[in-house]
């Protein structure tokens, strides 16, 4: 009798446990089932998330650009020459040309950087320090890669937070924050992994555009070896870490590509561009 009661009790306990396991499993299935079903809906479209993100980015780009208005070089020859390089790179790499907005600034520092909404800033110091146009093209490709890979917004969100960015874009008075953010964008590099990703992408862009990537690597070497007096102007190299290492993997990634490289600008245009900038 005792044994029988034991068996019945054991059976009931097992049945009870089974019931709990089934109930728990049903809750989990309902949770994940609802989630999976809801993922079928394009919520980004429903809530117009992308539209809001684009608007924020557009507004931020305009705000940041305002800080450079006074130093922007609007010389037609200079603007056209840089525009020709960017258009060629975009066409050969199927990048929407309208997305990249190039701005040349009259500044002695050797620098170039990307800003929200596809604004690409190139300092005159960078153009003048480039011995050949492929060096400049390499840097431009690197910055286009940052834009295409959405590194700019990623960096901004990481450094100053989404809420501050939205607050800036919605018109809250934040002149000091805008100034500091622009300073951060122009004088600090992205994460090492993002920089490498942009370098590799830049090499791909150059190869597809039939521009030799080797001078881009050499440019990094060259600037890292410049004398100390010039260091304060070498923003683009000093804020991008391990230039030698970068030059090495750029060479490594671009070797064994049997392509006949051609310059984008004619020698005359390139020389004229430099003369215009020195005047």
């Amino acid at each position: 009798m005792v044994v029988l009661w034991g068996i019945i009790k054991h059976y009931l306990q097992r049945k009870f446990m089974k019931k709990i396991v089934i109930q728990g499993a049903i809750i989990i299935i309902v949770f994940f089932g609802t989630w999976i079903s809801l993922t079928e809906v394009d919520w980004i479209k429903v809530f117009e998330v992308q539209k809001t993100v684009n608007k924020t980015e557009q507004k931020l780009g305009e705000l940041f650009l305002e800080t450079f208005e006074k130093t922007e070089n609007k010389n037609i020859l200079i603007v056209n020459a840089i525009d020709t390089i960017v258009t060629h790179i975009c066409t050969e790499n199927k990048i929407d040309r309208e997305k990249i907005k190039i701005h040349v600034l009259n500044k002695d520092e050797i620098n170039a950087f990307a800003m929200p909404n596809g604004h690409l800033i190139v300092y005159s110091g960078l153009i003048l320090s480039s011995d050949i146009q492929e060096e400049l093209t390499g840097v431009i490709c690197h910055e286009i890669a940052h834009i295409e890979l959405n590194h700019v917004m990623k960096k901004l969100v990481k450094e100053i937070g989404l809420t501050v960015l939205i607050s800036m874009a919605t018109g809250n008075d934040a002149a000091e924050i805008i100034k500091e953010t622009v300073k951060m964008l122009s004088s600090s590099a992205f994460d090492r992994s993002l920089e490498k990703e942009a370098d590799i992408k830049a090499v791909d862009y150059l190869i597809r555009a039939k521009v030799n990537p080797e001078p881009f690597a050499n440019f990094l070497y060259k600037l890292s070896l410049e004398d100390d007096a010039k260091t304060e102007y070498l923003k683009w190299v000093s804020n991008h870490p391990a230039s030698k290492e970068r030059a090495e993997y750029i060479i490594e990634h671009s070797k064994n590509k049997l392509i006949k490289y051609e310059p984008i600008l004619s020698i005359e245009t390139w020389n004229k561009l430099k003369i215009e900038l020195t005047e």
Binding site: F16, G24, I26, F31, I44, L162
Partner: protein, 145 residues
């Protein structure tokens, strides 16, 4: 989902109040602790520990409230850190995230409403057993312990 059952004995006024408070504790903590999901669990846990030597009815309901909070902690924590990575680490807002958020809100709302209902019923001395959590509480909480 919710079943009103006969308890092994009729709880007294003081017991009903204490048992009802275990649910109220998690509700108050939700309001105070938002958006940190751990706060409601800690509040319920403290209440549970404080009543572990109380009567069977009180202990049983403290256990049910704690178990419900514990499972909500997992999904709420996951949502919390996912949201943090979007705000501070630049992770993109995806349809997956929004879908997950909707499910989490539905589950939290269901739990919230159920908790209010159970708190009211328990205050009247009525024994309410939740789907899954009630059965689990029956295993964990024994009358003679």
């Amino acid at each position: 989902m919710i079943k009103i059952k006969n308890f092994s004995y009729a709880p007294g006024e003081h017991e009903a109040e204490a048992a009802s408070n275990s649910y109220l504790m998690s509700l108050i903590a939700i309001i105070v602790g938002l958006p940190l999901p751990i706060v409601n669990l800690i509040a319920t846990l403290i209440f549970y520990l404080g009543n572990r030597k109380s009567t069977y009815f009180v202990r049983w309901h403290c256990t049910q409230a704690l178990l419900a909070q514990l499972s909500m902690l997992f999904i709420n924590s996951y949502t919390f850190w996912w949201t943090i990575s979007i705000i501070f680490k630049g992770e993109p807002i995806t349809s997956n995230y929004i879908a997950f958020l909707i499910v989490v809100i539905i589950f939290n709302l269901t739990e919230f409403i159920t908790t209010i209902y159970t708190a009211i019923q328990t205050r009247k001395g009525i024994h309410v057993e939740w789907w899954f959590y009630g059965a689990l509480s029956n295993i964990i909480c024994k009358e003679n312990s």
